[in-house]
Amino acid sequence: MTFRQFAYRNVIRNSRIYAAFFMASCFSVLVFFMYSMLLFHPNIDESILGFMSLFGMATAELILVIFSFFFLFYSMRAFLEARTKEFGVLFHLGMDEQQFGRLIFLETMLIGIASIVIGTGFGFAFTQFFFMIVREILRLDTLPMYFAWEPFLLTVGVFLTAFIIVAYASIATQRKRRTIDLLQERIEEQHDVTLMRALYGVLLIGFSYAGSIIGVMMENVAFLFIVPPLGILGTYYLFSDTLPYILERFRLNKQRYWRSSLVVSISETIHTIRSNVRMFFVITIVSTLTFLTIGALATVASYTTQYERLNPLGMVYKSTIDNPYEQQHIASLRNQLESEALSYNLSRFTVVKQTSSYTKYEVEVFRESEINHLLFSLGYPLVTLGTGEAMFIPYSEDAIKTLANHTVRTVLKENSIPLVIDSVYPQFIFPSNFVSSNSIIISDEDFAKITNPLIGTTFQQSAYRLYTFDVPQWMELEEIGVVINAMVDQENVNPLGYQLPFYFENAGLNYSFILATYSLFTLIVLLVAAVFLLAAGSFVYFKMYADLERSQKHFDVLQRMGLTDQELHRLVDRHLMPQFFLPWIVALAHSSVILISFNILLEHFVNISIVDEVIIGFFSLIVIQVIYYYLIRWRYIVHLKQGD
């Protein structure tokens, strides 16, 4: 047996322990490789969506690499710790430091190269399928399979580097060990749990929660920066001190502790928590990340589903009075709609800007009959206004509530028209890009009195025209007005500012874009979340196997003392459940708080709520987790019974 064979056999014959870890690393290599295949695809970077997908893939790759690196490092450390006794024997038998380093390096590289080869191989096999999905999402005609060396080179290069760094880092962390400590069954030195340190956990987490809520409420970014470090530190203290402290206190209360059947379970739980602080901590953080990615997905999902509510109109064309293209554009839009056989309802508005004596600001004035024309086609209630009466046009859903009890007496200065604005139209009509936040409807009689333009401008400058196309089948509008839309898009990025005499928005076209982005995002997030979940699962699996021998002895003793099968199952539940669900509950709490504050922010700026989607997302995660638990519990009991 040569030294290399020795390292090889160490890994191959420990395959049961390495299995989950190996699977998780294979899977992250696989996902990384498929993203790279898309990243280097020769015909993807043509459209704006192509750019979006490139950006998404690159971000996902970065997250994957960073995460994989920490996952690999932590797992390697856990493996080495579990093998201290073995290393103790080897050092005793005369293994030197270089040989130890070589052993770890060879073993890590063996696993690393195997998972890179298998991950890339499967990745290449699945790429065709992946491309099919992406092609559907991006509505490309073809996304052919191709072969290039860049994706292979990138994947192999990145993961090989990661494995090499992880190997050297793991060796470096093991250097300080002394042989004599390795061999003897060490009673781990545990610091005393004090009230002080227990409070740290609660306080730090409390501060970070408060920081997140207050930061959002006050729209103060500085507060948001303290949230992650405080939360992470607090989580660590929570597991290392706060929970053990609480359980220890409960233990002191013999009245309750001894009477309840929890005697064994609680002491077990304290032991489990205290000896696995780092595992609990890592799983919590990884799970929080998973929840947050799901939350981000929910945000996009809810934006997509609430898009229609936010865009009641199919297409809107805004034009200055002196726009030379006006007639030509409207005619071409109508022609296109007709040739696509889409029914529509065109409303035309002339909107005039005036100065309000109440606010001293500009106010955009709409005419009652023109608004009613649109409202009629939308099927919304009509507006009836007498002379001197006016109504707010809401610029967002929230505005309906805030403006409802708002009464303003004002005079349109230029033409001395007195108005009482005492109501708000109860529906959201125009997309927020088109009307200013100061828009009102006045009666036709009052509108006719407007003869003087906005002070300091001509009539042409103080007014604009608005064409709205109400199209019931608005989702099929993606082929309409593509040319005009492209001109608008181009002008939008003009560094000198927007200078075209018109503006155009096609909800259908945007919708298809948003839908594609959303689907792409879903694909990316689901794959990344799957990597996270698998990684967290692999930690649990590994810990379970590492503790199996001890547990076997433990349950063997209990069975000798007369324990029925049902009781055994109940005990196994009490033993596994905290390990399994405790990090999840904490992660659920963390991500809930972050998502709640995120929701406040979203409602404020984009006016959407993600509560429903997040609840659905979390619920499905919990279901997956419960299934996963019963799977692991089943394997665990099988192994326990084998030990007899």
Partner: protein, 262 residues
């Protein structure tokens, strides 16, 4: 000249309570000697053995192995010293679970990068003399405690060390297997002129040795040499143990009442 020399060796553990595990102990072991070290629990036997094993260092005093002072060596040189000059036998065998019996035996040679053919030659001859030939391809969890300890002994012999250090080698074995292992050790000692230092609780195990050193509270207490008959030597060991008093009897007195050396 002695193969192992200890001079005024002292080991102090610093901690919340300073504890003197070994105190000014001097000892010479000659080549080919089979030495037992006995003493009550906590008397410093294992600490002493660890210091001879070079995995622990004395606080004061001098240790010399075949004329080499481990204290002057680097960590790596110590590793090389252990892998060439010392063989180890442990109470709970410490076989590597993922290796077969054969692979476990050759680990010391693997670490020293021997030629594979040479390894095979040595394993084969050693397995034959220790009766392990049938077991070579089994894994440690498939063999009995006695077979595991024989494997561990083979591992301790394969590199032909100058000194074999055994820490309670019969501690985890039943009486039948203990006898087997002890007879094996004394055979190895006689035939190959190996030096063996064995820490033990068991007066029967000690009665197989040439000399028994008793320590108490880390200090030299007594030493006796073997005579013609093992039965009388055993009786003399028991006498010293009863003088040592207290904790010594904890395990062995029960055994003594149950069985006698054959």
């Amino acid at each position: 000249m002695a193969i192992l020399q200890l001079k005024d060796v002292t080991k102090v553990y610093e901690g919340k309570v300073t504890h003197r595990a070994v105190s000014q102990l001097s000892l010479d072991v000659e080549k080919g000697e089979f030495l037992a070290i006995m003493g009550p629990s906590g008397s410093g036997k294992t600490t002493l053995l660890n210091m001879i094993s070079t995995i622990d260092t004395p606080t004061a005093g001098d240790i010399m192995i075949e004329g080499i002072r481990p204290a002057t060596l680097t960590k790596n040189e110590l590793a090389h010293l252990r892998r060439r000059k010392l063989g180890f036998i442990f109470q709970d065998f410490h076989l590597l679970q993922m290796l077969t019996v054969e692979e476990n035996i050759v680990v010391p040679l693997t670490l020293d990068q021997y030629d594979v053919e040479e390894m095979q030659r040595r394993v084969d001859s050693l397995a034959q003399s220790l009766g392990l030939t049938e077991l070579l391809h089994k894994r440690p969890n498939e063999i009995s405690g006695g077979q595991a300890q024989r494997t561990a002994i083979a591992r301790a012999l394969i590199h032909r060390p100058s000194i074999i250090l055994a820490d309670e080698p019969t501690g985890n074995l039943d009486s039948h297997m203990s006898r087997e292992v002890l007879e094996l050790l004394s055979r190895v000692n006689e035939q190959q002129q190996s030096t063996i230092i064995m820490v033990t609780h068991d007066p029967i195990a000690a009665s197989y040795c040439d000399r028994v050193l008793f320590i108490k509270d880390g200090q030299f207490f007594n030493e006796i040499y073997k005579d013609e008959r093992r039965q009388t030597f055993f009786q003399r060991i028991l006498n010293v143990l009863s003088l040592l008093g207290g904790g010594v009897g904890d395990l062995s007195s029960v055994r003594v009442s149950q069985r006698h050396p054959q």
